[in-house]
Symmetry: C2
Subunit: 188 residues, 2 copies
DNA sequence: CCTGTTCTTGATTGGTTAGTCAATTAACGT
DNA sequence: ACGTTAATTGACTAACCAATCAAGAACAGG
């Protein structure tokens, strides 16, 4: 039933399905058939629109990155250095970004950057942008913004990891608390 | 050439090879053939000694855990809470435990705990023991040892993640510095 | 020697999966 | 009506891989 203009809808469905399946499985070892079935279509159609499994993964990575970047941008124009800092942290644990499957998928995409050049580039851009945002926000709040930004970045990754590793629903409030407590100590 | 007593040697070689290959690939998606070739034997022999690929992975996990536990135990009888705390941290970044392939393999084994019950149990034991060791060491150094221990645990995981993600050789000194700086601030 | 045991592997099997292709269906413009 | 184009899939293939097995090779003890 060729209703025209299916492509963007199908692609979006596949990206969502890929994130869900990867997040669910906790591994990139999911088949195109799984993703396609979850997205309500045949594996052949998934290949038709994306060409390869890697390209599906890359699109999913870009999607997560774009979503996260948007939530940060939504909150950055807040006034004051401390306001921006809190904004970045809050964005990192906002519901859209802190769904278990999203976080799990994101961590698993880290692994993709080992074998795939484009994935590596995406990840580097993300890390660099986060670092730069944090440094700017930390200026004036501490004497060593670089060191604090690096520690904060690592801590966020670690909290992500633990959130995914812990069974049961992810607890965004708890995660955010851990980060905020650290900031209290670091900026005292 | 059946020189008697090959089993422990072969098993050790396979465990090392598995850690190396998983660490190298940044993924559990390595074949038994790869592992066996790296260990200098046929895939059939690997199956003969371990029975399945999962069992090789589990043995590798246990090996990493045992090695880490030993380095902690070697250092714990040091006197003073602060000495013990530093000891645990130092053990976490000791050369045997902080080789790129080892850390990478360890993080990838996290993923195994999603699908494999035994791997999940191993991981939980490790996390619980680390947490408990940290809490004991932190008692007397801070008013909220639990919170600090959890933050510290997450930070170590995050630093592991970043060390592996950063190209080039892993920098143990830098990693240890990050943790120590955090402790300065947290225990001030 | 000979016999049993350990060690070792080539060959094979059964199952899985990414990716291709030809054919079908249905909208759209003319 | 009709030809063009987008959407869609079933069937297929080529590759890969975990696991099995039967058989060979080498040593120890008697």
């Amino acid at each position: 039933m060729p209703k025209l203009g299916a492509e963007p809808i199908r692609k979006a469905a596949l990206i969502n399905a890929a994130i869900f399946e990867v997040g669910m499985a906790g591994s990139l070892d999911v088949t195109v058939a799984q993703i396609a079935r979850r997205a309500g279509m045949s594996p052949a159609l998934a290949h038709h629109y994306f060409g390869s499994k890697e390209k599906i993964f890359l699109a999913a990575m870009r999607y997560i990155l774009r979503t996260y970047g948007q939530s940060v941008r939504d909150v950055l124009p807040g006034r004051g250095a401390r306001g921006r800092l809190d904004g970045i942290v809050r964005a990192s644990f906002a519901p859209q970004n802190f769904q278990r499957e999203t976080v799990s998928a994101w961590l698993n995409f880290y692994a993709l950057s080992f074998v795939n050049k484009d994935a590596g580039r995406l990840l580097r851009v993300y890390h660099q942008r986060l670092r730069s945002n944090l440094i700017v926000a930390l200026r004036g709040l501490t004497d060593h913004p670089e060191r604090t930004a690096d520690t904060l970045g690592a801590l966020i990754d670690g909290v992500y990891l633990r959130a995914v590793l812990t069974p049961g629903p992810t607890d965004a409030a708890d995660a955010e608390n851990t980060i905020m407590s650290y900031l209290e100590e670091a900026l005292a």
